[in-house]
């Protein structure tokens, strides 16, 4: 009876997802805090440095876009982050209460017709789509961006390249 209990506990370790939530103000100065939170979470789940950097660049880009283009007033808004590690799967949600805005479709407003700048503007998005397995935007009461990344071999090696 004790043995089956221990087995259950052991298997629960992989069933309980580890979730890290935090909030940032819509201000680019919060990028530092963003990095700090990401590092905290990464430490909790033993994420290697290269994965942290990859996720960091995606969050940087999305946060910057949301802050820059997602709000039409001068008020302070809260942007909510949920970082989830469930076995091999990392899921990251970013939610805000701004205007309907998909940060994946950002076009540089200064140069909407300038092809060269459009390429530069889309660079960050391109990088995100390459680094993440899956990125999805939806609009309900607010904006919600979800990114997923599967990291190999949680038991042993993990995304070490």
């Amino acid at each position: 009876m004790i043995d089956s209990g221990i087995e259950q506990l052991r298997s629960m370790k992989f069933m309980v997802a580890q979730e890290y939530k935090f909030e940032l103000k819509n201000d680019l100065s919060e990028l530092k805090a963003l990095n700090q939170h990401l590092n905290n979470w990464a430490e909790d789940i033993n994420l290697p440095a290269i994965s942290i950097s990859r996720i960091n660049i995606c969050l940087d880009e999305l946060f910057t876009n949301i802050v820059s283009y997602g709000f039409e007033d001068d008020l302070e808004h809260i942007i909510k982050f949920t970082l989830n590690a469930d076995d091999n799967l990392l899921t990251i949600n970013i939610e805000d209460d701004g205007i309907p805005f998909n940060p994946l479709e950002k076009i540089d407003p200064d140069f909407p017709d300038n092809v060269k700048s459009a390429i530069i503007g889309g660079l960050g998005i391109h990088i995100i789509k390459k680094l993440m397995d899956n990125v999805h935007y939806e609009r309900k009461l607010g904006n919600k961006l979800t990114m997923k990344k599967n990291i190999q071999d949680k038991g042993g090696r993990r995304d070490s390249n």
């Binding site: 530092k32 440095a49 990859r54």
Partner: protein, 110 residues
């Protein structure tokens, strides 16, 4: 991010230290564009101590490279760490930009 400047053989060398992201990219942009408008035609950006670059940083690198080319100058990028190099490659810029492994390789070009 710190930017250390030195001039060697008429080449402006910028050594970056720390993180190049939305917060710090403007500083680099101003520095490089100031140099370009002052007539600098030979530049090297040393990435050895840069441990992070975001797409805003890449943006600045890209526009600086285009700007100096327009002025018929040359800029070289060297000493990138693996992560930084990877980001450039994902961005499809690995072969488009003059990136070399070591400072010596960059100096040789001039």
């Amino acid at each position: 991010m710190e930017i250390l400047e030195e001039i060697q053989d008429n080449i402006s060398i910028y050594r970056l230290k720390g993180r190049l992201d939305s917060n710090t990219s403007q500083k680099l942009e101003e520095k490089l564009f100031q140099a370009i408008s002052d007539g600098s035609k030979r530049m090297i950006v040393d990435f050895k101590d840069l441990n992070y670059i975001s797409s805003d940083g890449i943006r600045v690198i890209l526009i600086a490279a285009k700007a100096i080319k327009r002025e018929e100058g040359q800029i070289m990028f060297c000493c990138m760490r693996d992560y930084v190099k990877e980001v450039f490659e994902i961005a499809g810029l690995g072969s488009l930009l003059p990136v070399v492994a070591a400072m010596d390789d960059a100096l040789k070009v001039f």
